[in-house]
Amino acid sequence: MTIDSASDALHASLQLTAALYRSPTAALRDDLASGQVAALSDSLALALNLPAPALLIPDWLTVETSFVALFVTNQHGIIPPYVGYALDNELLGPSFEALTALYQSHGFTLDGTFNDLPDHLSAVAEAALLLLEAERVDGALLLARQFLQPWFKRYADRVLSADGSGLYGPLTHFLKLAFTRFTEVQDEVAA
């Protein structure tokens, strides 16, 4: 399949983000096994004309343990998957408050099945996706720029160097490039 509009590209990047940084579940397992993740990232690379990430899909246990080491127990230095932390250097800081305020004012509700902080990468990505699908490109872009891009800017390289799975490192690095792109080409997407 091909991605022919910038907004589709944004959509793809958000999908990858939402899928990748959530605690590894069956859903991600299937997406990896079915090659969906690889396919999506490849076509995204094509669309944004970026080098496609060299993914090697590791065995499931490695995915699970790498995720924990990277994002839960901070085994490789502090890489919290929280956009607020990337911006404020603290949990539940001002950026966190800004984001949750934004969720509220725009009718986002996180249900019980999501048991992480609302400024978690995947939550922000999902929110942006919903906005995008509701034809709210401006909102999606705003989330991508104000919240997601800074996280990748700060942590992508650390993830790349620390990752042992061959999945999180390359894909995170790739998404960094993608999101940097969106902060440049706003009008194109908005159009």
């Binding site: 859903a27 997406d31 839960v72 305020a101 934004l102 009718g107």
Partner: protein
């Protein structure tokens, strides 16, 4: 094309209007004209009553919440523990809740990895529970319920070291706060007065005129209330004598400092008894009325002259005499206040007996200015079927159950010592040897196995032998990252807990209310215990499903309610602090076999122990070695608070107290770094040298709890050095089961590198 979407977030139809950042938007668009943001107290603040958990004095506190975040913790007037004041740890506790290093969700050790390797995968609580349940039932099947040991420390230990093991049916429940802390004093007190000391050392500071601190470090062990009472006593002009090889903080306030040779305290106490007896400086009426065996004591102490003691203790005989006479002159308003952590040299119960005997001769037990009699609070249990057995975990709350459980094998440490409460360090060996029977499962709730239990290598070996090791904690401590299943507990600011009652002059009950929602998937201890209990088929013992209802029911049992507690925080009951109060009711406070204070203990005699205390000299170290002493810092609790950037800024690294002259001998200057090597060749460090006049030449001292080897704890990791890794040897107190920890010796190896650390400020930005 689409990836499988998650359904956890919804966009309501109400989402209209252009998306814009409101509220804290300035966070991203710096407005140069805007001053710094207003502080927390300029916004709307709510108050919640709670009980501090940053040490186990457990003061009643008021928690100030603003913007869904805890901003400040204070004591409050009307709570007998805090009286509106708080220690540094209580104030600093906030940083723990917002620590990104916290355990966030249940983890299960990765298949194929070994314990200690630290490879984990996330799990849902359900998954974690069923994993544990499966293993537990397998162990029960194969080895019996007794094969699971339960270690616990903290408010939740009521569930994990008492209730759950009791329901499950294992006598092998233990608390470090017993055999690694107060066991000797509790045992001695039990067999002397027929009463324990229990949580709050019952000294009538308000009326005492002469205090002798021995093994007591007020000001360094910042027990809030005690510190307040102590300070007031000093202001009142009470005289203070401090017996300590080290010029402690308390010593700096003292009228006399007795720099005693470590390990010889019993000799000093016997000499004091000698002076009091031979010079007849005791309260005859008191002794006749309340005590038994004084005559034997008179004979017993004849030979223990001050001169005899002087040779042993390295203190002038004259000073010993003078202090004894001054004590007598101020009696009964003169007191030797009992301290905590009395497991020193192995003869500790006898030392504590001698310690109490001095107090008895002063006639101060149950008398104003001496020891008051603490009364436990009245607080009925939530109705539940009787537990199969009553575990004898002991701890600060007193000695454990007296009689062995029926229908179960006795605790695996039984025949090793006389005392009734379980000795945590004695449960390690059975895990390795399988003697007297195998221990195959271990639960560690808030118990730092590697910083509290002596002989760490042995503990690690034991852990390797287990079939199941469950750790319930807040932080990824080193021992936690060895567990098969890691269960993240919510911090005390995020959870309810069972009601906390204290034996006291006037006993009281305090409640803990959650100030904020638990972060991530952390859960309260009581919830974890109940869920597991139910899955283990012990549901009948957890007949409640709503914890608020549980608390309310217990409170209604004393004519209060959860709602009342929510507004008061503390309920105070009436006690009977002094002998007079008991006599007025025609009651006898002494639950000894004889119903009197037993100066001479027939029970000890019958069990082959000295019925009256004797001095047994502790082992001496090889030449060139110093006796290793350790203690507390006012801003830290055990090994629990060392990932807290605020507290670490106050005291971020422990140093080795070394007599300045000795330091010069080694060519060491203040601030140099050295290695320490103990008698068994174990090396520890680097540690900074604190070259001081404040300590004797035959010993060194360091603050306990530093030197974590836990890479996941970014602040604590490798800051300072760990005393417990140097304590590879201990002398079992065959009466109480306490582990004498001060028979280890270290030599100093100069030339260690100065360690490099990320500046705290850098690490701490995250939590402030």
């Amino acid at each position: 094309m689409k990836l499988r979407r998650r359904e956890f977030i919804k966009l309501s139809a109400a989402a209209v209007g252009a998306l814009s950042l409101g509220g804290g938007a300035q966070a991203f668009m710096p407005n140069p004209f805007r001053g710094p943001p207003g502080k927390w107290f300029t916004r709307e603040v709510s108050e919640v009553f709670s009980v501090c958990e940053n040490c186990f004095w457990r003061c009643g506190v008021k928690v100030y919440v603003e913007g869904g975040k805890v901003r400040k913790i204070d004591g409050y007037v009307g709570n007998p523990k805090s009286n509106g004041m708080l220690c540094p740890r209580g104030h600093g506790a906030i940083a723990q809740t917002y620590d990104p290093d916290r355990l966030k969700r249940p983890l299960i050790r990765a298949a194929g990895s070994v314990r200690g390797e630290g490879k984990y995968r996330e799990a849902s609580w359900d998954e974690a529970f069923s994993y544990i349940t499966e293993k537990m039932l397998a162990i029960k099947e194969r080895y019996g319920t007794e094969a699971v040991a339960f270690f616990g420390h903290g408010t939740g230990d009521r569930w994990f070291a008492e209730f759950l093991p009791g329901a499950w049916g294992s006598p092998n429940a233990a608390k470090p706060s017993h055999s690694l802390c107060v066991a000797p004093r509790e045992t001695a007190s039990m067999w002397t007065f027929g009463r324990g000391i229990a949580g709050h050392e019952q000294i009538d500071w308000g009326n005492t005129d002469y205090m002798v601190l021995l093994g007591h470090h007020i000001g360094e062990d910042t027990h809030n209330t005690q510190l307040q009472d102590f300070a007031m006593a000093l202001k009142r002009g009470a005289k203070l004598v401090v017996v300590d090889p080290r010029f402690s903080t308390a010593a700096s306030k003292a009228d006399r400092w007795l720099p005693i040779k470590p390990g010889t305290d019993t000799a000093l106490l016997l000499a004091w008894l000698h002076v009091l007896v031979t010079e007849e400086l005791y309260d005859r009426a008191y002794l006749e009325k309340y005590t038994l065996g004084f005559e034997e004591l008179v004979k017993h102490v004849q030979e223990f002259t001050p001169e005899w003691a002087a040779a042993i203790t390295d203190l002038p005989a004259e000073t010993i005499r003078i202090v004894a006479r001054e004590l007598a002159a101020h009696a009964p308003r003169a007191v030797l206040p009992v301290g905590r952590h009395v497991v020193w040299y192995g003869n500790d119960t006898q030392r504590m007996r001698a310690f109490f005997l001095v107090n008895i001769l002063l006639g101060n037990y149950g008398v104003p200015g001496g020891y008051y009699l603490s009364t436990p609070p009245v607080l009925p249990e939530y109705p539940h079927p009787p537990l199969p057995l009553t575990p004898a975990a002991g701890g600060c709350a007193g000695v454990g159950a007296a009689e062995a459980p029926t229908g179960f094998r006795p605790a695996a440490d039984r025949n090793r010592f006389f005392g009734t409460a379980t000795a945590i360090q004695e449960l390690i060996e059975p895990m390795i040897t399988g003697e007297p029977y195998p221990l195959k499962g271990l639960w560690a709730y808030g118990t730092n196995l590697f910083h509290s239990i002596p002989n760490v290598p042995r503990t690690k070996e034991a852990l390797r032998n287990l079939d199941l090791y469950v750790a319930i904690d807040v932080l990824p401590m080193e021992h936690v990252m060895w567990a098969d299943v890691i269960l993240p507990e919510a911090t005390y600011l995020e959870r309810y807990d069972d009601l906390i009652g204290f034996s006291y002059r006037n006993p009281f009950i305090q409640a803990r209310f959650p100030a904020v929602e638990p972060l991530w998937q952390t859960k309260p201890g009581w919830w974890i215990a109940r869920e597991l209990g139910i899955r283990l088929g012990l549901g009948e013992f957890f007949p409640w499903d709503d914890f608020e209802e549980y608390l309310d029911t217990r409170l209604r049992g004393i004519g209060s309610s959860l709602e009342e507690m929510r507004t008061k925080g503390t309920i105070i009951q009436r006690g009977r602090p002094f002998l007079a109060d008991w006599e007025a009711r025609g009651r006898n406070p002494f639950n000894t076999p004889s119903g009197k204070i037993e100066i001479f203990s027939q029970t000890f005699a019958d069990n082959g122990f000295d019925p009256l205390p004797l001095y047994t000299p502790p082992a001496e170290g090889p030449s060139g070695y110093y006796r290793l002493l350790y203690g507390r810092s006012p801003v830290h609790t055990f090994a629990r608070t060392h990932n807290n950037p605020i507290l670490m800024e106050m005291h971020g690294e422990n140093a080795l107290w070394l007599n300045a002259d000795e330091a010069a001998q080694h060519g060491l200057r203040h601030g140099d770094y050295v290695w320490l090597e103990n008698q068994d060749g174990v090396r520890e460090g680097p540690i900074k040298i604190y070259a001081t006049q404040r300590i004797r030449k035959d010993c060194v001292y360091m603050v306990h709890g530093f030197g974590h080897q836990a890479p996941l704890m970014k602040v604590a990791n490798s800051r300072g050095a760990c005393d417990n890794r140097l304590i590879t040897y201990y002398t079992l107190d065959v009466i109480s089961g306490g582990a004498g920890l001060r028979n280890n010796f270290v030599r100093i190896i100069p030339g260690a590198p100065r360690p490099r650390h990320t500046p705290l400020a850098q690490l701490a930005e995250r939590s402030l």
